[in-house]
């Protein structure tokens, strides 16, 4: 697809005197369900103000037009290698993340609310991480049970007492935000190695090509500065005589997010390194170049703590760099995010984040948490076991949608098996109600239909500034009625347009 091959319905100012209505015309297959907040339509089936222009244009689009657009986007992703690797039983295969060609829209006010909530949350989480690796006030004061923190597999005793540059433990964060009729809420904080930002940027490029006129007319806030901001954030974490040399540490090309590692390194002008490219000599980290060893100042690591350094963490790690943690402790290299941050995105700790915000910031949380029951407590376990068919149960250290039970979609046998696991290791689980995730318009199987969505905005925290890309990876549960948005579980993604001035003038 090229910029010159525009869809016929891509008009900057479509005739909005006859806007589309859910359930008729171009939206014949779109059914508004009052149980779920609909991002596109009001409950009476008319377009929301923010969606009026986009919806009107889409109502005039033929399924063939949209299919052609969708196919063009997919083809472009394949040819440009915007893929993730799936490791099968026999071999690794490359797949593209399914992209939906209908953007989701948010007004400036809605985004402002999310933006303030995320800043507040990340500030509190950084203070919490500093606290648990130093004084431990929040543990002594009973804000979070000490055994929950100290017993967490992601708690790194090696970080105790270590002065992290500028007290910034989490520089890069991807927080999953959902919307229900009650408003926005945080579903999960990803503080270790959050991924997906490259798909957010690639989606945006694809949408600009697909809807150039509509895009321009919507006055959408730009997200293209993310790599530049990421570099500035990483460079701000230390004090350097000259320009710091930044490297992106990747597990290698078989990692599912390898494209993203390569993309970010390329956009930042950083070295894309693997463990074997780095050596530590006299406490200094060097990269092997063709003209000898060159010092590395900042490592944006996309490798889990366990594998960072075989001398300090898992001795069987082939992905890490022997002696890296020693160099880090000596203050000779900055690692972002800092080792040991995973404790703060543990799903059990998540339940305490609102209390942590109140404790550290003396503020009320701007973004709500999802109601969470800790199975490690007697009441939490009993409630979860009594209501398995109505709850979502997750492992506290799980990710990617793996190892969870979605009660209403499970069989009695599955629930029995899960209950046995719960009883034997209650500490390992939390439960949450099944959320009425909002729905957005998607082009699926030749029709415009609603699907459940969430969004993962990306937050960067530098020495003196916090920057949030005004957009995010909007994840879509592509299966009809499905609630799991993870790409590993059949989810896709779409672009999120954050508008500059709230409503689009009609």
């Amino acid at each position: 697809m090229t910029a010159s091959r525009h869809a016929s319905f891509d008009r900057a100012y479509p005739d909005v005197s006859q806007p589309g209505v859910a359930g008729s015309g171009g939206f014949a297959h779109y059914e508004v369900d009052a149980r779920f907040y609909d991002e596109m339509f009001r409950e009476d089936g008319t377009l929301r103000g923010v969606s009026r222009r986009l919806g009107t244009a889409l109502s005039r689009a033929s399924p063939e037009d949209l299919a052609q657009l969708q196919e063009g986007v997919a083809r472009r992703f394949i040819h440009e290698g915007i893929t993730f690797t799936v490791i099968g039983a026999d071999e690794a295969s490359e797949q593209i993340i399914p992209i939906d060609c209908v953007p989701r829209l948010l007004t400036a006010d809605e985004w402002d609310h999310i933006d303030r909530g995320l800043r507040q949350r990340l500030t509190a989480l950084n203070l919490f991480l500093r606290d648990i690796y130093h004084e431990g006030r929040s543990l002594r004061d009973g804000i979070v049970p000490p055994d929950l923190v100290l017993g967490c597999p992601q708690y790194r005793v090696e970080m105790r007492g270590l002065q992290v540059p500028n007290d910034i433990y989490v520089s890069v964060c991807g927080t999953d935000v959902v919307r229900t009729h009650a408003g926005f809420a945080v579903l999960e904080d990803n503080l270790r190695v959050p991924s997906g930002v490259s798909y957010m940027l690639a989606c945006r490029v694809a949408m600009k090509q697909a809807f150039p006129r509509l895009y321009r007319a919507h006055n959408v806030r730009e997200i293209a500065r993310y790599p530049e901001q990421l570099y500035a954030t990483l460079a701000s974490l230390g004090s350097w005589a000259g320009t710091p040399r930044v490297a992106v540490l990747s597990p290698g090309r078989y990692n599912s997010a390898y494209y993203e590692h390569a993309f970010l390194a390329g956009e930042m002008g950083a070295d894309l390194v693997e463990g074997r490219d780095l050596v530590v000599h006299d406490g200094i980290v060097y990269a092997r170049t063709v003209t000898g060893l060159r010092r590395i100042d900042v490592i944006y690591r996309r490798v889990d703590d366990d594998f960072l350094d075989p001398v300090t963490f898992r001795s069987d790690s082939l992905l890490g760099v022997p002696g890296l943690f020693h160099a880090y402790r000596a203050g000779n290299v900055v690692i972002a995010n800092a080792p040991g941050t995973g404790v703060a995105d543990d799903k059990a700790i998540y339940a305490y984040v609102p209390d942590l915000i109140r404790y550290f910031l003396d503020e009320e949380p701007i973004l709500a948490n999802v109601e969470t029951h800790l199975c490690r407590t007697r009441e939490g376990l009993a409630y979860t076991l009594d209501n398995l068919d109505r709850l979502v149960v997750k492992e506290v250290g799980g990710s990617g949608g793996y190892g969870m039970l979605v009660g209403p979609h499970s069989t009695a046998a599955e629930r029995d098996r899960y209950a046995a696991r719960l009883r034997s290791h209650p500490d390992n689980f939390i439960s949450q109600p099944v959320l009425d995730l909002s729905r957005a318009m998607c082009f699926v199987e030749g029709n415009l239909e609603p699907r459940h969505v969430d969004v993962r905005p990306f937050v960067l925290r530098g020495r003196s500034d916090t920057w949030i890309a005004p957009g995010g990876l909007c994840r879509v549960a592509l299966r009809r009625g499905g609630l799991v948005v993870n790409s590993s579980q059949g989810g896709g993604c779409k672009d999120l347009w954050v508008l500059r001035d709230g409503q689009v003038p009609d």
């Binding site: 394949i78 170049t289 063709v290």
Partner: protein, 325 residues
Amino acid sequence: MLARAAADFYWMGRYFERAEHTARLLRYQLARLVDTPAGELAVGWRVIYRALGQSAPITPTVTDEAESFLLADAYTLAASLVEETTNPDSIIRCWTTARDNAKQLRPWLPVRVWTCLNQGFFWLRDCDFPAAWATGPAGLAGEATDRLRLLAGVVEARMPRDDAWRFLELGRFVERLQHQAALLDAWDRIGQAPGDAPSLSWAGLLRVCAAHEFYCRTHSMVIRRGPALAFLARNPELPQSLCFAVHRIEKLLAGIDPRGARYPLAAPHRMVLRLSATVETDPANQNDAEGDGGSFEALLKDSRALHGITVSTYFDYPVEAGLPS
């Protein structure tokens, strides 16, 4: 530049050159299926496999039955060089491995280069070899050559002349030097036979090397062994000549490691000077019309040594050797 990335560029260049060389030889051989006697075709297959350093899956025969098996043999032999994934030097394997190298080079590789490379890979991977054979055996090799040349053109147009480009080119020309030396050697040793036995023509060698027209224009329409070999070894204006490859390697090394080009010379620079001297000093009695079975062995040996020295100097050096002074 990161040593591993440089190594990946170097290998990517080598694999693409290898694929293009194979495609070029195949294009020549398959185009001759129409009218060339079976015995001569059999010699052609032997020369190709020998030049590529591979053993043929079947032995092409020069006996009387050869005519009946001509197409079947050609199909088997060509398939092994194009689509056989178990053959590490087949075109599909070269392309796949080069793409694997390229995947690790995304931060350094312009998007257009990657896209061109990737589209070529998908074309080859999804190619129906039997169907392509049915429509014209030489067409597939021709298309592969054209796509590889398109890629070379996009590289030429899009890549800055930095170390990434230099290592890519270095890989290409080291590979070219080795392949051309092996081709001249094989053509000279087993492509010729005394008396009436089937032989390959010297004009054919010039055609394979895209040098026939240039030779006729600058030398003569009468093509003999000595001048033809000398032309392919020493003409500095012919991209497929040994001399051209050696000079390019010399220039690329000077860009990669300017200090190594000053005395005392670094090991790769020293080796390339030696190669240059060998090319200039008649490696296979090129002035002899008949030849004496001499070969390009010394040149081949030195070009392989150059590869080893390049790897140990720029990619796999000991840590102590790389520490800043």
